[in-house]
């Protein structure tokens, strides 16, 4: 594999490719990253395909996590994440840097997940991941099934509600699901969600409201 580009994290005026960023100002760090990524983008567009590996290795975990939260299917999430990067590579010439690369990538991920949901088989809930893992080969670890451990009854009850939250999530429309996950699982602000989805604040809140209503229906007997 070709040598992967690294964002040069600044440490006391020196450039390092190994240490974590120590910039006081987040906005400045973001600006520097955008500038660096613009340079990488230009290299890729000019024909340096290997330079794109920087984007893959930098964002693959975030994108896979986001996709996985939406799809609740480890194997699908892996495939979709790969598709997202391939699509991003093909469309890189159209990316003009109006938003951060990650935001643009998230938008591609939302669209790719939406397409996947429209033509996928019936959704497998997160609670069934353990069964799925048997077919996924050694790369995917056993599913994580947390319990707070206070009592078996409570674990059972929490597990049941969690399963129903998970099942309720997959009944949401792709757009509602994306917005709900960005808001409540990734803790994005409304503005960030707006940037990623291209929707205005009112529309996002409307989707969140409708998503919450659907959840309420699924969790009716909590009353």
């Amino acid at each position: 594999m070709a040598k992967v580009l690294n964002f040069p994290h600044r440490t006391d005026g020196e450039t390092s490719v190994t240490e974590e960023p120590r910039l006081e100002d987040d906005a400045r760090a973001r600006a520097e990253r955008r500038k660096f990524e613009e340079g990488v983008r230009e290299r890729v567009v000019a024909g340096d395909v290997d330079a794109f590996e920087y984007f893959v290795t930098t964002y693959q975990k975030r994108i896979t996590r986001f996709v996985f939260t939406l799809l609740r299917d480890a194997s699908d999430a892996d495939c979709v994440a790969q598709d997202v990067f391939v699509k991003a590579f093909r469309a890189l010439g159209e990316f003009k840097g109006e938003s951060a690369f990650e935001t643009w990538l998230t938008r591609i991920a939302i669209n790719t997940v939406r397409d996947r949901i429209r033509r996928r088989r019936p959704v497998v809930s997160f609670s069934e991941l353990r069964d799925l893992d048997d077919d996924d080969g050694p790369e995917l670890p056993a599913s994580f099934d947390p319990a707070d451990g206070t009592s078996p009854e409570r674990d059972l009850l929490s597990g049941d509600i969690r399963r129903r939250i998970s099942d309720a999530l997959v009944t949401l429309s792709p757009r509602q699901r994306s917005i709900f996950v960005m808001k409540h699982y990734e803790e994005k602000s409304i503005a960030e969600i707006g940037e990623a989805t291209g929707l205005d604040e009112g529309t996002i809140k409307s989707h969140l409201f409708r998503a919450a209503r659907k959840l309420r229906v699924c969790l009716e007997d909590l009353r």
């Binding site: 395909v49 794109f52 590996e53 893959v56 997160f126 599913s143 602000s189 209503r213």
Partner: protein, 169 residues
């Protein structure tokens, strides 16, 4: 909502999933109702567990998984680039193999010719029908035809005489 009625499902969901990000106002009833507090806590706990399960699962993916995913992705990207890079080379390749190029051209011409001939042949009966349906020739036409037949006869006779002369030689 009165002080005695429990929170509705909407209110419970709104406590855990506030729409605007900020904490929703705490209903007066919730402050003193252990049942409603328990319901809100249970839903919040379940949601946090679900979120934690997703994070835990992702965090549990070992580095080789990410390396393999990156390699697969880059392989697909490189393979998608390769055909595009080869496209401009189509013309030189044909020049390097002129026989292939001319062979293809000849095959294409043969195909076109075959199609044209079969097309004409299939239309021939229609032409004959059209001729047959024409009105009977007039008397002028008939006399012209007789004249032509007479000329044919004369020509036939002279050619036979010519052949006979050659044979006698």
């Amino acid at each position: 909502m009165t002080a005695t009625s429990h929170l509705s499902a909407d209110e419970i969901v709104a406590r855990v999933f506030p729409e605007d990000g900020g904490p929703a106002a705490v209903p007066a009833h919730l402050a003193g109702c252990a049942v409603c507090q328990e319901r809100v806590a249970r839903l919040r706990e379940a949601w946090l567990l679900d979120r934690g399960a997703v994070s835990g699962y992702m965090d549990g993916l070992a580095e080789p998984f990410w390396t393999a995913q990156a390699e697969r992705t880059m392989e697909e990207i490189r393979s998608s680039v390769a055909p595009r890079a080869a496209a401009p080379g189509v013309r030189p390749r044909l020049v390097r193999h002129p026989l292939l190029a001319f062979g293809s051209l000849a095959a294409a011409l043969v195909l076109v010719a075959t199609a044209t001939i079969s097309h004409v042949t299939s239309q021939a009966p229609a032409v004959r029908n059209t001729v047959a349906e024409r009105p009977t020739p007039s008397s002028v036409d008939r006399s012209d035809e007789e004249l032509l037949r007479a000329i044919d006869r004369v020509l036939d006779d002279s050619s036979l005489a010519h052949l006979a002369a050659e044979e006698s030689l």
